[in-house]
């Protein structure tokens, strides 16, 4: 496999790691509030609803340590963040208590997506055009937005866990 970070600046990787940690903290804050305010504490209780909503998932297959393909991995990282940016946007109107936490999470996800994209552009790794957010489910009730929030943030945390490991691996001196 490609030796890690042969072409990625260390400061870029350290910033990404810092941003991922921030987004994880933002996500945890939102999960705490969803549990406290709306008694929606466990994603496992919402699997059926998740199926019916048809929430898309983001893959990081090009980032596996056995077959790390840097351009493909960065593309998937960026594409996944754009997907979650869209999903979080669809949760707008979730509830007055949660709106501030959702806004910060969305801003931080957008910031990280932009950083990765700009770095890919600088390294001539970026595809010709920005990926679209793809089809995003419509949440038709307040309950669906909150339940959707639990599912989306839970998936985002798993995605970030993987991303963090990849970025750490790439940042190894």
């Amino acid at each position: 496999p490609l030796s890690p970070a042969s072409s990625l600046p260390q400061s870029f990787l350290l910033k990404c790691l810092e941003q991922v940690r921030k987004i994880q903290a933002d996500g945890a804050e939102l999960q705490e509030r969803l549990c406290a305010t709306h008694k929606l504490c466990h994603p496992q209780e919402l699997v059926l609803l998740g199926h019916s909503l048809g929430l898309p998932q983001a893959s990081l297959s090009s980032c596996s340590s056995q077959a790390l393909q840097l351009t493909g991995c960065l593309n998937q990282l960026h594409g996944g963040l754009v997907l979650y940016q869209g999903l979080l946007q669809a949760l707008a109107g979730i509830s007055p208590e949660l709106a501030p936490a959702l806004d910060i999470l969305q801003l931080d996800v957008t910031d990280l997506a932009t950083n990765i994209w700009l770095q890919m552009e600088d390294l001539r790794m970026a595809p010709a055009s920005l990926p679209t957010q793809g089809t995003v489910p419509t949440f038709t009730s307040a309950f669906q937005r909150r339940a959707g929030g639990v599912l989306v943030v839970s998936q985002l945390q798993s995605f970030l866990e993987l991303a963090y490991r990849v970025l750490r691996y790439l940042a190894e001196p």
């Binding site: 709306h38 008694k39 929606l40 496992q44 209780e45 919402l46 699997v47 059926l48 609803l49 199926h51 019916s52 038709t140 009730s141 309950f143 669906q144 909150r146 339940a147």
Partner: protein, 308 residues
């Protein structure tokens, strides 16, 4: 949708019965005879849901709460699935009371802010978000017929007072004022207050000063005190009468009162007191002969009578 709860009303009267149903669609999951709908109130599983398979293949459960005693609760419609429960819909249920009529409505005209401040008692908690509005209109003689309407005065959240600004007032004309309380379960109004704003003027207390002894004036007689006072500046245009009360600082004697004093005196001599005794004096004033409210008593002035 996977499943949805239908409520007869999101807000009911505390203690009333309520029957709620939840319908689960086939497209959500395969609904066999063993499928079991369960209800949760906040996090507590609730016994007693009546379940039936409907002709169109959907599954419906109905549950009745004979006396719903929660001011706010989160109802979840769940389905046994695998070895756990799946939440398919939630609904927030609130219960409380229609608003009781507000009471003890009273108003004061504030000459500094030039506004009519009214306050009231909201009555017992309704457990529901209740909005109060101070309503009023100008009327001629009998306070009944509305002539000019006055914009509603909406208090800040949670406040039980509101101030009608000067530009909406005619200070010397009759006015009908009342408070309306409104929440999801109903509306009520306080008894009407009929008043003339200027008659509700509440004055700030006058200011008392000791009279400095001066060479041109003979010292006061034993058992006498000299003082002067002036009413509160913004009320100089209002004819007033004032009352002076005094009592020896020591001992338990009650206040003595000197009534019907003018609203301003450059020099006043109070006699008939015990000689060389320390006295406390206070004054208050009211609009007079036109109606008005007594001001609070002024800060205390402490003077000692001349020796024998």
């Amino acid at each position: 949708e996977c499943g949805y709860i239908s409520l007869p009303a999101p807000i009911i009267r505390l203690g009333d019965p309520i029957t709620v149903s939840c319908i689960i669609n086939q497209n959500c999951t395969s609904l066999g005879p063993e499928s079991q709908i369960r209800w949760k109130l906040d996090t507590e599983l609730q016994p007693g849901g009546r379940q039936q398979h409907l002709p169109n293949g959907t599954l419906q459960s109905t549950i009745t709460f004979p006396h719903f005693n929660y001011s706010r609760a989160l109802l979840s419609c769940c389905l046994h699935w695998g070895n756990g429960l799946q939440i398919l819909d939630q609904a927030e249920l609130q219960a409380g009371y229609p608003p009781p009529p507000p009471y003890n409505l009273s108003c004061l005209l504030n000459l500094t802010t030039n506004s009519l401040k009214c306050q009231w008692e909201p009555g017992p908690d309704t457990h529901l978000s209740t909005h109060f509005t101070l309503k009023s209109f100008k009327s001629r003689g009998n306070f009944q017929t509305q002539e000019d309407s006055i914009p509603d005065c909406v208090p800040e959240d949670g406040q039980n007072h509101c101030s009608i600004p000067r530009k909406h007032l005619q200070l010397y004309q009759n006015m009908s004022i009342w408070v309306q309380a409104k929440n999801a379960l109903g509306t009520s109004t306080s008894p009407k207050l009929c008043l003339v704003p200027m008659d509700m003027v509440k004055l700030e207390p006058p200011t008392l000063w000791a009279l400095e002894p001066s060479p041109e004036v003979a010292p006061p007689q034993p058992g006498c005190l000299r003082l002067r006072w002036e009413t509160w500046k913004p009320s100089l245009h209002i004819e007033q009468k004032c009352e002076l009360r005094h009592q020896p600082q020591r001992g338990e004697s009650s206040w003595d009162l000197v009534g019907a004093l003018p609203s301003r005196s450059l020099q006043y001599e109070l006699c008939g007191l015990l000689p060389s005794t320390a006295y406390t004096l206070q004054m208050r004033c009211t609009r007079w002969p036109l109606p008005g409210r007594w001001s609070d008593w002024s800060p205390r002035l402490e003077l000692t009578t001349a020796q024998q």
